[in-house]
Amino acid sequence: MLTPFQILAADGSVTQPDLLPPLDQVESIYRKMVRLRHFDDRLMVLYKQSKMGTYPQFGGQEASQLGATLALSQGDYLAPMYRNTGAALAFGWSPKQAILYWRGHPAGWKIPDELNMLPIIIDIASQFPHAAGAATALKLRGLPQVVLSFIGEGGTSQGDFHVGVNWASAMRAPAVFVIENNGYAISVPRALQSGADYLFKRAEGYGIPGHLVDGNDVFAVHHIAKEAVERARRGEGPSLIEHLTYRLRPHTTGDDPKAYRSDAETQEWAEHRDPLLRVRLLLTAQGHWDDQHEAELRKEAEEEFNAALAEADATPAPDPHALLEYAMASPTPALRAQGKILEQRIRLLEAQA
């Protein structure tokens, strides 16, 4: 068993005090984490109310996603997967958009022009070649930006995990690849994915740095990600980082984890290794935080979410014409003919109603 890189232990004690940021920064990060958690939990509630589509929760992985994403600077690129709503929000995606996205609303799928976020990828591991390509492009253009991309530990068994990391390594392209090892690929435990004890060890086979990090320690995550981002920015190529973390929630809103993992296990993580808890313990121990602060912060988060939700709710229902929009930049005659069929279908259903 290797010891993952850690700054703040699960019990709120600081294992590397010189690496801990000042308290106001700790607080600011904590505030972000609580907002993320609130967002994530509310989407589950909405789902249960049939006001949300299938949604893959990230609850439990806030430190992993936030800590890494905060290592990016303005103009950097994020190549997210479905689990990364937390990272996307940290990157600047608006909660309103995220709600619309997971509702399957075209307005939510429109990535804002000012956000260098590549599309969220459902097709496991295929975001890595995109990230590698974008990073290669940055290098060819001589730009200072970097690309950050995430994958689950299950995703590391896919061909495209290897293809992407290796491509970036061959090109010495400015990419940072993060494996969020949350223990399971839906029901399949980490041990079934590979004979490797740790996945970060793949790094050596690409000639790049590899790191094992306590993924529930937001400061450790941030510290290592920052190192990797800076390295990439200096033109020294990609890194591969493994975050040891845990998905406290079901795989998606439709999943029941009881089928494949014990309550005791989940409880252990929830009660003792929650990434938010240790920061709160630290802030509290430092006399910087109390129940009142917490209650206010939660209220704030709730109000913010409610505002975003209200905006999302106010968005007009999707227009069927969105179905053919953006299919092609210069549509073929066949697609144009299908546009007429779409009009006809709209009329047919209207007539039926």
């Binding site: 299938t54 075209p106 097709d123 839906i186 089928a259 999707p318 179905l323 299908q338 047919l348 259903l349």
Partner: protein
Amino acid sequence: MTQTVQPAAKAAPASQKTMTLAAALTDAMDLALARDPNVILYGEDVGVMGGVFRITTGLQAKYGKERVFDSPLTESGIVGSAVGMAALGFRPVVELQFGGFLYPGFDQMASHVSRYRYRSRGRWSTPLVIRFPYGGGVNLLEQHHDSPEAYLAHTPGIKVVIPSSPKDAKGLLLASIEDPDPVVFFENIKLYRSVKEEVPQGYYTVPLGQGRRVHEGKDVTVIAWGAMVQTCLQAAVAAEEAGIGVDLIDPRTLVPLDLELILESVAKTGRVVIVHEAVRTAGFGAEISALIAEHAIYHLEAPVLRVTHPDTMHSPFNAINHYSRPEPAYVADAIRQVLEA
């Protein structure tokens, strides 16, 4: 070679049980595992969890981890390893989690599953089954609703099976597992639990290559598979009330295709509508239309129409996807058009 009565239908009603399509599939795999020690099941989440749609539920508990197991998360590995497994005499029945995730395994499918026997001149063969849920109408995520049957029908050396009812599903899956060639087995997500019917208990097969006349009529031939059979059946029933006879044909297997049944119907009606939820251009509807244009041109009295998904990805905009995915109203409209033509 067409037969609309299935072998098992001869069995006594006592041995029937009302089942969903999902349950019929589980039953089929249970029987196959019990019958042939060479049958093994694997894929993502098929073991402990019984698959995301619970189609393999209980099978690992019953047959053990050596015969029903979770694999690493890689479609190329699942499909590619099955080639090697088959070489050692296994009959792997592997699950891909969704048809939209077939593509990372496409090279293994198109270059190897389909060619291994040809390439080795019979020294190795690939009697394996690749199953996956596919199709729209259920509000899942992007790529969960693809209908990739045309890619597979265009890949020589493999068979393509798409049941539309529980009874067919069970018999066709058992026939697929028995088949000496590789079979890709499509399981429509929407049908998994929405249709129920009496399913014969025990082992039986529905032969590959025999279509089924789902509704009889003399005015228009409608050809559809998977969930579109239900969609078209609704249109056919409505048409009947309006005095229009729809001959609804479910080919059940696209490769081999029961061309005889289709041509027989076209000879009778002279009018054809083909319905699929896959993308229009170069979909399997085109092949059926082309076969009709080749073999039944003199019977045709109207343009052959296709009601399909447009040429876009299956959108994640679930609230409006019924404008993309064929609805009974669109089929009815196409029927009207071929009748008026």
